[in-house]
């Protein structure tokens, strides 16, 4: 019980719930803007999941200064590798979001609506 109430369990549960909510938004919404917003929610949830998996209880950030001893740093810090992955993933995420927005805008200009059911160019 004390286990389940620690920080990383709460955040992993939150990230899974956000993932389910975002996917629900993607498959249930008709508005293309809402789909992009749901996609960015899924993005955030994956980042949260990766950072939670890196967390180790009672340890601190992987930055060595006066607060962390240099000699036995490996027993004091959390895992730095997922942090580096998430760092690049966030920057790529904004690129993808901007690309999707410009695509959505182009579609809006062509069809004059945001409803994806009206986009019939590729339908057969």
């Amino acid at each position: 019980m004390t286990n389940l109430f620690s920080i990383e369990y709460i955040t992993i549960f939150t990230s899974f719930a956000l993932l389910v909510l975002g996917l629900w938004g993607i498959i249930s919404q008709k508005n293309i803007f809402k789909i992009i917003i749901s996609f960015s929610i899924v993005n955030t949830s994956i980042h949260l999941l990766l950072v939670s998996l890196a967390y180790i209880r009672n340890r601190t950030a992987p930055i060595i200064d006066s607060a962390v001893d240099r000699v036995n740093a490996a027993e004091k810090v959390v895992d730095p590798v997922p942090h580096a992955l998430v760092l690049t993933a966030i920057v790529i995420g904004i690129g993808i979001t901007a690309l999707m927005l410009s695509y959505a805008f182009t579609m809006y200009k062509q069809h004059k609506t945001l409803d994806i059911n009206q986009y019939k160019s590729l339908k057969w």
């Binding site: 955040t11 549960f13 809402k34 980042h47 939670s52 942090h83």
Partner: protein, 83 residues
């Protein structure tokens, strides 16, 4: 213990904001709600001992994404007014 309670409350707010972002019919409010999700995610990263990720999420996820969304929303509204 107190940290767990604070993280729990922040997580609950994130989930509520996700529901608002998906189901509210106004697009502007949905975008603002997704900005709030990013904001609280970045506070949670501080609890998870990841200040690097927190800075990135604060600067890119919470600020720049919302700004780009509003630029496109503005253009779409302009076109609506013209029709």
């Amino acid at each position: 213990m107190i940290y767990s309670i604070i993280v729990l409350i922040l997580s609950l707010i994130m989930l509520v904001m996700a529901l608002v972002a998906i189901h509210h019919k106004s697009l502007q409010i949905a975008v603002i709600a997704s900005g709030i999700i990013s904001l609280f995610a970045s506070v949670v990263y501080i609890f998870l001992a990841a200040p690097d990720v927190a800075i990135t999420e604060a600067s890119i996820g919470s600020a720049l994404t919302v700004i780009i969304f509003f630029y496109v929303l503005n253009k779409i509204r302009h076109s609506d007014a013209k029709e």
